[in-house]
């Protein structure tokens, strides 16, 4: 286990380094004078020159990259001249609501996907299986902004039971008004659920064909016991990997959901930054989100290895 852990952490570290190279390259894609693009049209020549010096734009690329990493390691992710705030401070303020949104949606999606997937697997090729498969295809194929707006129309306009937008401000105001969380969480959960329940269905089907199921049945275990005691545990394990793999996709969904509900998270921060062409915010958020997904998949892989000891002994190739 220790060996596996060290190897996996080492891999994650390499990936983070590559992510930083990618964001560095992205920062160099800016057209024309990068200092001008970042500081805006009103910046004076003196400011531009100072900025060029601070970022080392006159140095060779490799030195610039070194300076970039050095800044990152000191917690300096850039400065938003549009918001007049450091990117680190903006992210610190906007990240917790996104973590809350993503966390809750994933929990809701898994809680619903597991029984739904098992139900489909045990009623394979019967009307209920076809119906749920059809529904999950529709949810998967639906642009998530449309789904969000349909939920708003239904619950906030016609039924008038839930607020249409999320509370503004920071984490505390989001927590103070939990009703505002319901629709965003529902939207993101439904998008995620479609994929998870399909995965759970095939995972359960795979397990139902295994020898241990026949053994359990031969021992006289009831179908209920076979399903909940034996199959459920084994079928759940791959879901952990799926969580790690799908984290980037879930964050894509969060970006859209936050846009639809005006939810004060990191996705909306990013979207606003695209509108105002606030490149330091865009690059800083991209880097932090990427590091988050690397950490997420690391945690998923390690939990998988804890749950399924076979993984630890598999050597590459």
């Amino acid at each position: 286990m220790t060996f596996y852990l060290i190897r996996r952490v080492g891999q994650a570290f390499v990936v983070v380094v590559i992510v930083s190279i990618v964001t560095f390259i992205l920062s160099r894609l800016l057209p024309g004078e990068p200092a001008r693009a970042i500081l805006g049209l009103q910046a004076s020549p003196v400011q531009i020159e100072a900025f060029r010096q601070a970022r080392g734009y006159d140095e060779p690329l490799i030195v610039q990259y070194g300076m970039y990493v050095d800044r990152l390691l000191h917690g300096d992710f850039g400065f938003s001249y549009k918001e007049n705030e450091t990117v680190a401070a903006l992210v610190a303020q906007r990240l917790p609501p996104t973590v809350l949104l993503v966390g809750l949606s994933v929990v809701v999606a898994v809680i619903l996907a597991v029984p739904l997937g098992m139900l489909q697997a045990t009623r394979r090729n019967r009307p209920i299986d076809y119906g749920l498969t059809g529904a999950s295809f529709v949810f998967y194929s639906m642009p998530s902004f449309w789904l969000g707006l349909l939920l708003i129309t239904l619950f906030a306009v016609y039924l008038d039971v839930l607020p249409a937008g999320a509370p503004q401000g920071s984490m505390s105001s989001v927590l103070a008004e939990p009703a505002g969380l319901v629709l965003p969480v529902m939207t993101l959960a439904l998008v995620t659920l479609a994929e998870f329940s399909r995965y759970m269905r095939s995972s359960t089907l795979d397990n139902l064909g295994e020898g241990y199921v026949s053994t359990a049945r031969a021992k006289g275990a009831s179908e209920r016991r076979v399903l909940y005691h034996h199959v459920l545990r084994n079928a759940l394990v791959p879901i952990v990997t799926l969580l790690g793999l799908r984290l980037p996709a879930i964050l894509n969904g969060a970006l859209i959901t936050e846009g639809v509900f005006n939810y004060p998270g990191i996705g909306r921060l990013f979207w606003q930054a695209t509108q105002s062409q606030d490149y330091d915010v865009l690059l800083g958020v991209t880097l932090i989100v990427a590091v988050g997904t690397v950490a997420g998949s690391l945690i998923a892989d390690v939990s998988y290895a804890v749950l399924d000891p076979r993984v630890r002994y598999v050597q590459p190739r």
Partner: protein
């Protein structure tokens, strides 16, 4: 094969006959005959393509000049699906939007598959240090959620439709690269690859003539899903205001424009493009699923 356990002796499991007779294309054809969902998928895709590209030949509408005096009209004989907020006929606009959605979907998927296949085949076949190096690059880029990367690139380049295809393709090639690399790793240990090498075949020949053609099943399945994803990505970008610029439109742009009028009750602005997206994306997913079933059956036989 689990499905064959209870079958009478001599019975051919579903899909088995086509697979047994070999031929990849014959196999693919067999899939569509047997899977009703896949047939439905092909039907929808064919219909949408004909509707979008041939429709305007038969159904003439003015999609250039706005006409505010005819804005937001409900469906009628003159406008079967009504008009939108600047007076365009929605049925005609649906054809125009379909062209962009399908073009971008197809082209971006092809770009992504092309780059990914080549990258994965070279990495997997060469192995060693180069493989590790190339795949770590993939790991690094895949860690950045697609939409964030795309939005950044769209903000910097403000792409037209052609550039958008390239940008989506450049972001989406990572999945196919991983898949093909995995297949190439297996393929390079097979005997016929050794045989080619012994006969003096160059690496380029082995990758180009033997490795890639053998991964074609995986590639086809993946391309189908890529098209579906690309159509959704264009829709998401349009909603976020970074889609293909006007005067081009696409189903996603029509939908995100239409949802502004959710509260006004102008349903004809919302449901036609919304349903077009859902139907098309579902269709491609059905096709992909059926193809994957077929190729997996074939793999199990090997």
């Amino acid at each position: 094969m689990t499905s064959g356990v209870g079958d009478p002796p001599g019975a051919t499991p579903a899909g088995g006959e086509a697979a047994a007779k070999g031929g990849l294309w014959r196999l693919a054809l067999g899939v569509f005959v047997q899977h009703r969902a896949a047939l439905f998928g092909v039907g929808i895709v064919a219909f949408m393509a004909l509707f979008s590209f041939l429709g305007p030949v038969f159904y003439h509408t003015d999609q250039v000049h706005t006409n505010l005096s005819r804005a937001n009209l409900p469906p009628s004989a003159a406008h079967p699906l009504g008009t939108d907020d600047v007076g365009y006929d929605i049925l005609g606009r649906l054809m125009l939007g379909g062209q962009t959605s399908l073009e971008v979907g197809f082209a971006a998927a092809l770009v992504a598959t092309g780059i990914g296949t080549l990258w994965g085949a070279i990495a997997g076949f060469t192995g060693g240090f180069l493989d590790g190096f190339m795949m770590r690059i993939v790991d690094g880029i895949i860690a950045i959620p697609t939409l964030f990367l795309l939005l950044y690139l769209s903000t910097v380049f403000q792409p037209n439709t052609l550039l958008l295809i390239l940008v989506i393709g450049l972001v989406a090639w990572l999945g196919p690269a991983r898949l093909v690399r995995g297949e190439a790793l297996t393929l390079r240990t097979l005997e016929y690859v050794d045989a080619v090498r012994m006969m003096g075949g160059t690496r380029r020949r082995i990758v180009g003539r033997h490795v890639i053609p053998n991964t074609i099943g995986t590639i086809m399945v993946n391309t189908t899903f890529q098209i579906a994803d690309a159509i959704l990505i264009v829709a998401a970008l349009s909603f976020l205001g970074l889609g293909p610029p006007a005067p081009a439109t696409n189903w996603g742009a029509m939908l995100s424009n239409g949802v502004n009028y959710s509260y006004a009750g102008y349903w004809w602005l919302i449901y036609p493009p919304g349903l077009a997206i859902v139907l098309t994306v579902t269709a491609f997913n059905f096709i992909g699923d059926a193809l994957r079933d077929a190729f997996e059956q074939r793999l199990q036989r090997r």
